[in-house]
Amino acid sequence: MEKEIAINTILGAHDFFLQQSAGYKSWGKVEVLQIAIRIEGNAYIINNENSDFSNLNKDDFQSNLLSENWIGSIFLKRKNINYILITKQEFATQIKEEIPPILDDQAQLLGVTIRVAKDNNGIVKAIKNRFAAVLQNGKSICIGNTLEDAYVAAQLLEKTSKAFMEAKFLGGAKSINKIEAWVMQQFYQFKYSKEALKNK
């Protein structure tokens, strides 16, 4: 993607998320803080860490090479990932331990488990074969091929986190067999989602 297009995508993202979030109103609050988008020239563009996401302007961005930090490392290792969201979420923020597969949609879209990364160096490992990870600083990382995919991952992370936390009052969430969870993820990614695209 060209740099200008990526910047315009981020500038329009606040309205896009507002529109999208209407369908997830019971799942908890998801606030997107930063968006990183893969661009031409082995680089990515991202809005500055403390910029006001609801009121961004063209000075609020920086571009980095993929070789520079953990965000670049994710883009380097995951060729099909074009969008990385850094979020703050009501329930995901409270997660301090790895979440096992407790819901089918979690296993299908996010991966077998949701890991917690201790620091920035651990994020790439935590999100390996997965589409979301929680950071110990209260933020989360959600990734996708498209902006919508990454946003759905953020919402599903919030739903799963809420289910995990609230189920503690009912004796705790019960895990699905991890092999079955892995099979579901493979089926979803390589068969169901492709078949769904054809079902028109």
Partner: protein, 192 residues
């Protein structure tokens, strides 16, 4: 009501599921019974806000054969099984609604605490069907058994299924189940 009107109703119901936050993206599904042998159901893997009435799929409840090029929802076996075993039922919805999903993740039955909720849900207890992989015979039969004596059932680690005499009724059941699950969770918090 003719087939086209029924397809429009199912299509509108899919959009309503999305609007009310009972489903997201392509998850969940809704159907209504056309006659003793046929139902209309939402198609597989499609976003509700992009659907049109002509994309709803007519399915034979007994043979699972469907008309047209669009594949019906992958949960069609569950819908068909319910229509076969409960002939008085006119509409079925399957959702991944939030509070139902929390209780389903814990794999426990829901104690329905409010008397009004009991009347709408058809019982004092909503059962959780044991976990099985989605779209399998095992989950279909387990869920059909769990819903034998009420208007709703949980599908462990997955979501919920609700039944009613028509679409208006089944939406009432789904909304009420969500409130009943929330109340049930809150009652457990009060004990802790």
């Amino acid at each position: 009501m003719d087939l086209q009107e029924l397809k429009t109703k199912v299509c509108d119901a899919g959009k309503m599921l999305l609007k009310e936050g009972l489903v997201a993206r392509t998850w969940g599904n809704v159907s209504i019974k056309v006659n003793d042998t046929q139902m209309v159901i939402t198609p597989s893997g499609r976003k509700y806000d992009e659907l049109t009435p002509n994309e709803m799929v007519l399915v034979d409840i007994y043979t699972l054969k469907y008309e047209g090029n669009l594949k019906p929802s992958s949960e069609l076996k569950l819908h068909c099984q319910i229509y076969k075993t409960k002939p008085e039922i006119g509409a079925v919805i399957h959702t991944h609604q939030m509070f139902g999903s929390i209780v389903a993740a814990a794999q426990v039955d829901v104690q329905v605490l409010d008397e009004n909720h009991q009347n709408i849900l058809g019982g004092k207890m909503i059962k959780a069907a044991p976990y099985a992989l989605p779209n399998t015979k095992k989950i279909t039969m387990a869920t059909a058994k769990a819903i034998e004596n009420s208007n709703a059932a949980l599908m462990s680690n997955h979501g919920v299924v609700c039944i009613g005499k028509d679409l208006e009724h089944v939406f009432d059941v789904a909304r009420t189940l969500e409130k009943a699950c929330e109340l049930f969770i809150e009652s457990k918090k009060a004990i802790v």
